[in-house]
Amino acid sequence: MNEFLLQLLSGISAAAVLFLVASGFTLVFGALRIINFAHGSVYMLGAFLATSISDFVGTGNVSFWISALLAGFSVAALGALIEIVCLRRIYHRDVAIQLLVTFGLVMIIGGLVRGIWGSAPRQTAMPPLFDGGVPMLGTYFPTYSLFLICVGSAAVIALWLIMYQTSLGRLIRGAVDDRQLLEMAGVNVPLLFTAVFSLGAFFAGIAGALVTPQQTISVGLDLDVIVKAVVVVVIGGLGSIGGALVGSLMVGVASSIALIWLPPSWSLIVVFGLLVTVLAISPQGLFGKVR
């Protein structure tokens, strides 16, 4: 029983990070109708930025927050730039062109990261507040994993508030419904899209920064995370934030619980099994409504 609970908890902690990434991906798809493969690259950039910022500001409890937020905001600014310079030109284009452009961004950001930081693995120190483990269920469960669960939950609440309690959220939901109608209502849709993309990048950047104390950061992080995010979002339904939440939990928890019986090299099989099952039952994903 303890073993099960501990795997469950580990899975939820993994799901928290997945949600931060997947929610931005799905948000961007829902509003902008772009499958942004560079979303994982933005996550990786956030992670690398956080390691460099913490080299600079130190690794205390406060510096930890500074570097995470600074990484998030820098990446959000870059996201805005990417939207204005690249994506704006391709909304009306063919899906193939859109995929090509976001793949191009994957290459460019990947090259940039390798050029700036090189290939050696990097990491940041654990902030003292979250160091060590909390004694529970006969073991020490990493405090930081519990913290990630808190951050994930806070992100769920924050996103819910943004989407349902602010005018920005109202416009984002409106854009998911009908972009043109929104423009007919006099909404500055280009600006809205920049904001949405930037918000998605912010969440991804923060997620990247938040894993640095627990994971070693290296090039290749981008593709690793985007594959998972795509699976999560397809399971949950493209464009649905609630779907991203449920999808993250399913993927995170299933691949963690499966470890009780199966070696981790099976995790992809478990995850894709989940994906296939969901798609067989509901081809749109669990909460899919777009298209």
């Binding site: 005018s167 109202r170 416009l171 939901r173 409106g174 998911v176 419904d177 009908d178 043109q180 109608l181 929104l182 423009e183 007919m184 209502a185 006099g186 909404v187 500055n188 849709v189 280009p190 409504k289």
Partner: protein, 241 residues
Amino acid sequence: MTTAAYPVSAALTVNNLDAFYGKCQVTFDAQLHVGRGEIVALLGRNGAGKTTTLMAIAGFVTARRGKVLLAGNEIATAPAFRRVRAGLSLVPSGSRSLGSLTVLENLQTSAGVSARNGQWSIDKVFGLFPKLRQLAGSQGRQLSGGERQMLAVGRALLSQPEVLMLDEPSEGLAPLVVAELGGMLRRLADAGLAVLLTEQNHGLALDIADRVLFMEKGQIAWEGSASEAKDPEVLGRYLSV
């Protein structure tokens, strides 16, 4: 009225409009104007280019050539949302609404965006369409066609228009609703709004319009008063299939 010079006080003036879908030209040298307090009906067969004309005026279809003056100001190069903010609203065909947003949220999206100090508030829109007040909490996709059309007009009014364009407003609506809508448009026009609407079906249009334009193959082929347009010979020439 047939040869009337364009009044200087026209709310909307469109000159030499050539609208394109990609390389495909749809309107040819289209000219029209709508005065304050005037309802102009743009009629024509399916595929004549009415929708394209409205979309080009609103900025959603490329106009390679032509002037669009809103209260004397050239807006032909402004992005669509700026035209709305300047006072040019379009109610597109098909009674579209933001389906997952509530009626109230639908109205909120356009409230406060306008650059003009207009008279319209959500409360006034609810005054105009009491039904919408009852439905304030319902999602757009749950409404009937008529309710969605009211919502669309309400949304358009909240952007404080000087010119209101409606593309086939009566399409798919019950006759009673059409009559109600017509009466309301007439009242709005009487209060000073310039209205440009299109129809394939001439019933509503001819009842409320001051002036009628017939469109054929992307060109304005006939212009005259509503009573002149009721001539069966004219109707037959431009509308019968």
